[in-house]
Symmetry: C2
Subunit: 181 residues, 2 copies
């Protein structure tokens, strides 16, 4: 059985979580990693219908995604999670669960400045949040607690998603989670 792991992207809306995960996951699959993607849309549809954006609901959502990712990791598969996951404590709770069951937790911090995210605004959500039409929007009127010691920190302003993917692959190789090529 291969060593299961969780690739946990965290970062602001528009920071590139989904984009980078979409760049790296196909490469991982080509290399034989069985990986399932749990990103925002998949999670909202299949796991978290009905949850809102209060701290409690956000925490419930993250624990739920972490529970599923851990089921995969502890069976030698990989889970790729791309959720804002703004709170350090709950990210660390998921990490502890994964590690307690023998999995490896790789936190990928999308270190994209808020200004850049606002400029990208791929879903037009910042515009609405800044206009007060959406409340509890992370980075605007809801907190984002950046990881202090993530396994991987990605700058996305002057690098391409492919370059970010290569950085992730290098770390996974270093840690023996995927074979070197």
């Amino acid at each position: 059985m291969s060593q299961g792991f969780v690739l946990w992207f965290t970062g602001l809306s528009g920071s590139g979580k989904t984009t980078v995960s979409q760049a790296v996951v196909p490469i991982l699959r080509e290399r034989g990693v069985k990986i399932e993607v749990l990103d925002g849309d998949i999670v909202r549809t299949n796991l978290s219908k009905g949850l809102g954006f209060s701290k409690e609901d956000r925490d419930t959502n993250i624990l739920r995604v972490g529970f599923v990712a851990n089921l995969l990791a502890r069976n030698g598969l990989a889970g790729c999670c791309a959720c804002i996951s703004p709170y350090t404590a709950i990210r660390d709770t998921v990490r502890r669960q994964v590690e307690a069951d023998g999995g490896v937790f790789i936190e990928v911090f999308m270190d994209t400045p808020l200004d850049a995210c606002i400029q990208r605004d791929p879903k037009g959500l910042y515009k609405k949040a800044l206009a007060g039409e959406i409340k509890q929007f992370t980075g605007i009127d809801d907190p984002y607690e950046a990881p202090t010691d993530p396994e991987i920190r990605l700058q996305t302003v002057d690098t391409t998603p492919e370059q970010c993917a290569q950085q992730i692959l290098a770390v996974l190789e270093e840690r023996g989670l995927i074979p070197s090529v």
Copy 2:
């Protein structure tokens, strides 16, 4: 990669879903099957906090459990689900999803008469439901749609959990989902 499958127990509260799953899962693990259990308590804690017992919430719950079981099955693992899952249509939706992704869906109908379940009443819930203290209780004031063509039908009144487990193992062997011993 081994053929993934979902062992889906359905039946009234007290029909023996959890008991029989607890009898069969350790044997499956001994035989090398990587199987994760998603039964009522695990699901309520980790996946479905906040859901109630309306038809809509029940359906959401079942789809959610089915989503997770399918993630396992389509990666060659097994999911063992033990939820009342009273509605045929939604059980069949899960079946179709699992089969569409290449997994095998084994529906295990706990064919325990309501009277026997009421007599067992392991959690004291029937007593409360019959007294009107719990509403929307399956079999009392909420429907249970029995499967018409389940892969496995278990009588639990005059058989032990171990005998039920053997019946399940026999079917899984027959279908090539586990090696014969």
